[in-house]
Structures are given as structure tokens and as C-alpha cells.
């Protein structure tokens, strides 16, 4: 176990290094930030000072080494636009995004899992066919358009929930959260549904195929022959077996949801890190873009590790050491 975690940690460092190289060089191909930062009437001398201060006069590989050196000390650079450390800027926005992602996963699983199991228990029925076709429709909806339609129906037309922003927040252990206020909930619900729909479809399909497969296994037939009640078979024998793929997906999707939240946050003007990324891309705020990708990668890598550890808990047949080799 310890060996497994250690090996994965070392692998993760290499992944992070590779990402830093790719992103650093890709992002530094984006236009000249100096043009945006200095006003047109600055003298050439002042410009020089500015360029030197930002370290932009060095060749790119030297800039990368400086970046790596700072990274080792936990410094991912300072935002060109905001003038504060990029890490600070992103971590400030992180709770808003996490709140959205967690709620959307809860929605996806609590609706997708039961619907999928219903479809999987009787795959050839009309209900099952309707659910499965509906799930294809669910992931065929472009997230940005689907969010705009949610806004149109529930915010503009019915006026049930606000169209944008985060609403009232309360400080919980020093972090601003909105799920503790009624106003916060009303702002949270539409973006969370927006983000949840594609994953709901995904969880549903996984649960359906897992259930359809497990239903025909010997242990289920045996339990049925033994006279175990149907509800108990579904809960104890089927549900437990389909949880492994579902947990994998939740884990992997947790990372992508952070990335996909850029769309939701753009549509709903949600002040999370995805909105920050889009704004930074527009403003050519390189350090923030690089820092975002590094932090996002760190989150993906950690979540993947947690998912693999969760297997061992859910499925005693899984051997971690073998999986790592």
C-alpha cells in the first residue's frame, strides 16, 4: 500500500513536470502581454523597465527555469493583471467551483444511479428503452446552450431562480460558502443542474450496463433461488457490484468537471476558477493560465490516486500492487 502510494507520487511529479513544460511553452506563444499592460504613452525606457521587471527579456528557456525555481518554493508567479500571486487568486476562487462540482455530482449520482438500475433490471422494456434514449439526449445537449435555456425558462420566464452570480455567502472555517444560505442555494441550483446533466447521463448508462450484466451472474441467480427478497438482491448483490465503475467515473469526472465548469461559470457568471481561466486567456494573463493548469493537473492526479485507493475498499478482490506494475 505504502509502496503503491509512493510509486504513484513519483509518477505524479513527472506528470506535473511534463505538463508544466507543455503549458509553459504553449502559453508563451500567446501575444505580447506588455502591449496590454503599459499604456500607449509610456516612454521606451519605462517599457524596458517593465519588461525587465516581469522577466520577459530573458530567453524562454531561462524564463522556464526561473519558473521552475519559483515553483519549487510554491510560487507560481504573479498575475500580470491583478498584481497578486496567481496561486492566491485561484485558491480564492476554488471554493466556489468546488461547491458547484460537488453539488452537480450529487445530483448526477442520486438521479442517474437509480434510473440506470431501473433500466438495467429490465433492459428490453419500453421504460428502459425510453430511459436509455433519454440519456443519449442528455449528453447530446451542448452544455452552454443547455445552461442558457435553463436561464431562459427558470430565470427569465418563470422567474424562480436568479440568472447569474453567486448570491449571499457565509464564512465557514474562513472559506466563503453559499450552500448555507437560501439565497446561495437559489443561485447554486441552476448552474449545478447545468453541470450535472452530461454526467447524469454517463452515470445512468454505466449503472444500466453494470446492472444488466450483474443481473445474470450466478450469485444473483443463487440468491434468487435461495429466496432472498428482490429489494435485498438489488441493494446487496447488484448495487455493490456496479459501484466500482461508478466510483471510477465520479473520480475521473471530478477532475473534468473542474475543467468543464469553465463553460458553466461563463454562462452563469459564477465567480469560480473556470471563469478566471477564461478571463485570463482573454487578458493574456500568462501566469494565471499556467498556474490554473498546474493546480488543475495536481487535482486530477490526486483524485485519480484516491479513486484507485477507493477500489481496494469497495472491491476486496482488487490488488493495488498488481495494478501499479
Amino acid at each position: 500500500m505504502t509502496l503503491f502510494i509512493l510509486r504513484r507520487a513519483i509518477q505524479s511529479v513527472f506528470v506535473l513536470l511534463a505538463v508544466s513544460i507543455v503549458v509553459f511553452f504553449a502559453v508563451y506563444a500567446i501575444g505580447d502581454p506588455v502591449e496590454l499592460l503599459v499604456s500607449p504613452d509610456t516612454s521606451a525606457a519605462e517599457r524596458e523597465v517593465m519588461i525587465r521587471r516581469l522577466g520577459l527579456d530573458l530567453p524562454i528557456w531561462r524564463q522556464y527555469l526561473v519558473f521552475l525555481g519559483n515553483l519549487a518554493q510554491g510560487d507560481l508567479g504573479t498575475s500580470f493583471v491583478h498584481g497578486v500571486p496567481a496561486v492566491e487568486l485561484i485558491l480564492q476562487r476554488l471554493p466556489a467551483t468546488l461547491e458547484l462540482v460537488v453539488l452537480s455530482l450529487v445530483i448526477a449520482v442520486s438521479i442517474g444511479l437509480p434510473l440506470g438500475m431501473i433500466a438495467g433490471l429490465a433492459p428490453e422494456t419500453r421504460t428502459a428503452r425510453t430511459i436509455m434514449t433519454g440519456s443519449i439526449f442528455g449528453y447530446s445537449l451542448p452544455a452552454f446552450w443547455q445552461g442558457m435555456m435553463l436561464i431562459f425558462v427558470f430565470a427569465v420566464f418563470l422567474n424562480w431562480a436568479p440568472a447569474a452570480g453567486r448570491g449571499d455567502t457565509v464564512s465557514l472555517l474562513g472559506i466563503e460558502v453559499s450552500f448555507l444560505t437560501a439565497d446561495g442555494w437559489s443561485h447554486l441550483i441552476l448552474p449545478a443542474i447545468n453541470l450535472a446533466l452530461p454526467n447524469l447521463a454517463l452515470v445512468l448508462r454505466l449503472a444500466a450496463s453494470g446492472t444488466a450484466e450483474a443481473r445474470l451472474q450466478d450469485y444473483v441467480k443463487y440468491a434468487r433461488a435461495k429466496g432472498v427478497r428482490r429489494g435485498r438482491i438489488v441493494r446487496r448483490h447488484i448495487l455493490r457490484n456496479i459501484l466500482v465503475p461508478v466510483v471510477t467515473v465520479i473520480g475521473v469526472e471530478f477532475g473534468s468537471l473542474i475543467a468543464y465548469s469553465t463553460i458553466t461559470e461563463t454562462v452563469f457568471a459564477w465567480p469560480g476558477m473556470g471563469k478566471l481561466l477564461i478571463d485570463s486567456v482573454y487578458q493574456l494573463d500568462r501566469p494565471v493560465v499556467v498556474a490554473y493548469v498546474m493546480i488543475a493537473t495536481f487535482i486530477f492526479v490526486s483524485v485519480n490516486l484516491l479513486v484507485d485507493l477507493a477500489y481496494a475498499v469497495l472491491d476486496p478482490r482488487v490488488e493495488l500492487e498488481k495494478g501499479a506494475s
Binding site: 504513484r8 509518477q11 505524479s12 506528470v15 511534463a18 503549458v23 504553449a26 502559453v27 506563444a29 500567446i30 434514449t133 443519449i136 439526449f137 449528453y139 447530446s140 445537449l141 451542448p142 452544455a143 452552454f144 446552450w145 442558457m148 435555456m149 436561464i151 431562459f152 430565470a155 427569465v156 420566464f157 440568472a163 450496463s209 466500482v244 465503475p245 471510477t248 477532475g255 473534468s256 475543467a259 468543464y260 469553465t262 463553460i263 461563463t266 454562462v267 481561466l277 477564461i278 486567456v281 482573454y282 493560465v289 493548469v293 488543475a296 493537473t297 486530477f300 492526479v301 485519480n304 479513486v307 484507485d308 477500489y311 481496494a312 482488487v318 493495488l320 498488481k322 495494478g323 501499479a324
Partner: protein, 309 residues
């Protein structure tokens, strides 16, 4: 990002072609035709493709010819009449552009991007996967590491960062989609070639001293291609969706080109004041297109899946 604990045995079962019993093409098509939803989706898809193909003849207006637009006709509701008496069935946008025409032209871009990106990504990915599985060793490790690396990240993030670096343009969007999508084909192809190489006909071909490239392209490729085709169908839909999303975010197709994503974005501000049609209809066209491709892809997968025969 690296190897998952072995639950992968689930997936290849669904994707691998029937081992030892190559699916019969006639039977697959017959099964496909017997499904009413699949037939409906295929017909819908054919209509949309035809509409896109013949857009210049069908569209009442050339939506990107600025001289043809009349600013006095801006933001008219669906069914309204223009200054010169024509009817705007789906309304107009803020520049007086006929939405129906704009959507027809937008579908063209969607299909061009979706089909060409998928074709390029599938070709590159298939060849890479074939090479990795057949040659093995260092080549395999190198290719599969890159594949793992790319697949470890959400496509939208990679495409977004990439496009912000190389700039906007239809060709660049296609390039970005190819970069994020080829890896998927490579992984699937490698899996299905690994199964094929163990079969006797490959052994026989080797004993006849047939050159490696010939075994790969003539013997292995056709036999390992079925799962690639199924995935490619669905990938066309996801490429179309990705293009519209990137354009919506402002890093995709430039505003001088018709794109459904851009049209939807341009209607966003008017949506809040109840003028829904600028965003609604292009989005509807996009959904119907993507949904019908996905439905056809799903039924195709079901028809090929040996467990459901």
C-alpha cells in the same frame, strides 16, 4: 493518469469485435434497420446533411454577405416580415441576419469540422495504435505514454489552452480537435490489434515472411477496424460539440465565419430580455444534429456487440 487498477476488462468487451466471429455486415444492417429510433435518427441526419450541403440554394439570404443584411430588420421575432416583404421564419439577429439562413450555413461549418477532424484523428490514431501494438517495445511505450498523457486531461481544457496559443480559425479548431482526439483511437486500436496478433492467420503471414508493414496494413488493419468505426461515429458528434463550445467561448471559429456556437453566443444578451430565438434555434439545430449522430452511433454499437445478438 497512468494505469488504472484492472477494471478495464469491462470496456473492451463492449468495444472489441466478436472474437472469432466477424459480424456479418448484412445482419448488422438488418438489425439497424429494425430499430425505429435508429431509422428516424438516420433520416433526420440525412435531412440535416442535405440542408447543409445545399445551404446556398436553400437559404433565403447569404447571411455573411453584409450588403444583403438590412440593419432595420434587426431582432425581428420568428415569422416577422422584412422591409421588402420576405418572411423571417426563425427571426433575425442583432444585425438583421435571417436566422434560418445563418443556421443552414452554420451547419456546414459544424459538419466540415466534425467530419474532417474525425477523419484525420481516426487515421492518425489508428496507425499509431497499430504501430504500438505490432512493433511493441520502446515504440509502444513512447506512443502509449503520450496517449495516457493526452487522455489524462479533459478535452475542453487542452483544446482551450491550445487555441488560445495558436489563435482562432476553422483550420486551427480542426487541428486542436485532432490533437485531443487521436489518442482515443490509438488506445482502442492497440487493444484490438493485440487480440488479433495472437490469431493464427497473423502467425501464418509471418511464416510466409510477408513484410511487417504489409501484415499491419493488409492483414491486421481491416480485422481490427470495427470498434474504430463505432467510436468514430460518436466522435463526429463530440467534435461538432467541441467546435461549437470553443466558438462560444470565443477561442474557436472567428466571427466572420458562420458557426452555430457563435450564433448562440451572440444571442445570449438578448435572451435575458426574452428574445429567445437568436440563441434557441441555432442550439436546437445543433442538438438535433448531435443527437441523431449519437443515436445512430449507439444503435450501431448495439448491432455490432456480440452479446446482444
Amino acid at each position: 493518469m497512468s494505469e488504472r487498477v484492472d477494471t478495464s476488462s469491462r470496456e473492451p468487451v463492449a468495444l472489441a469485435p466478436a472474437i472469432g466471429q466477424t459480424p456479418n455486415r448484412a445482419r448488422i444492417l438488418a438489425r439497424l434497420r429494425s430499430r425505429p429510433t435508429a431509422r428516424g435518427a438516420a433520416i433526420m441526419l440525412a435531412i440535416l446533411v442535405a440542408a447543409a450541403l445545399f445551404a446556398p440554394f436553400l437559404a433565403p439570404q447569404d447571411p455573411y454577405d453584409l450588403a444583403a443584411l438590412s440593419i432595420f430588420d434587426n431582432r425581428l421575432a420568428p415569422g416577422a416580415q422584412s422591409m421588402d416583404g420576405a418572411v423571417y421564419w426563425l427571426g433575425t439577429d442583432s444585425q438583421g441576419r435571417d436566422m434560418l439562413s445563418a443556421i443552414l450555413y452554420g451547419l456546414r461549418i459544424s459538419l466540415v469540422v466534425g467530419l474532417s477532424a474525425t477523419a484525420a484523428a481516426a487515421t492518425i490514431g489508428t496507425l499509431m495504435g497499430l504501430l504500438a501494438a505490432y512493433v511493441g517495445g520502446l515504440v509502444e511505450t513512447a506512443i502509449m505514454r503520450v496517449v495516457d498523457f493526452i487522455l489524462g486531461f479533459p478535452t475542453i481544457l487542452v483544446a482551450l489552452i491550445l487555441l488560445s496559443a495558436i489563435g482562432r480559425g476553422v483550420d486551427k479548431v480542426i487541428l486542436a480537435i485532432v490533437i485531443v482526439q487521436w489518442a482515443q483511437y490509438a488506445r482502442i486500436m492497440r487493444g484490438s490489434v493485440l487480440v488479433e496478433t495472437r490469431k493464427e492467420y497473423v502467425e501464418a503471414a509471418r511464416n510466409f515472411a510477408i513484410p511487417g508493414w504489409r501484415i499491419m496494413l493488409v492483414h491486421l488493419l481491416p480485422n481490427a477496424l470495427a470498434p474504430i468505426l463505432v467510436v468514430a461515429t460518436v466522435q463526429v458528434a463530440s467534435a461538432i460539440m467541441l467546435e461549437s463550445t470553443l466558438s462560444f467561448l470565443g477561442v474557436g471559429v472567428p466571427i466572420t465565419e458562420p458557426s452555430l456556437g457563435l450564433l448562440i453566443a451572440s444571442g445570449f444578451e438578448y435572451l435575458l430580455s426574452g428574445e429567445y430565438w437568436i440563441s434557441f434555434f441555432p442550439g436546437l439545430a445543433l442538438v438535433v444534429l448531435v443527437f441523431s449522430i449519437n443515436l445512430v452511433g449507439d444503435r450501431l454499437r448495439e448491432s455490432i456487440d456480440p452479446r446482444r445478438r
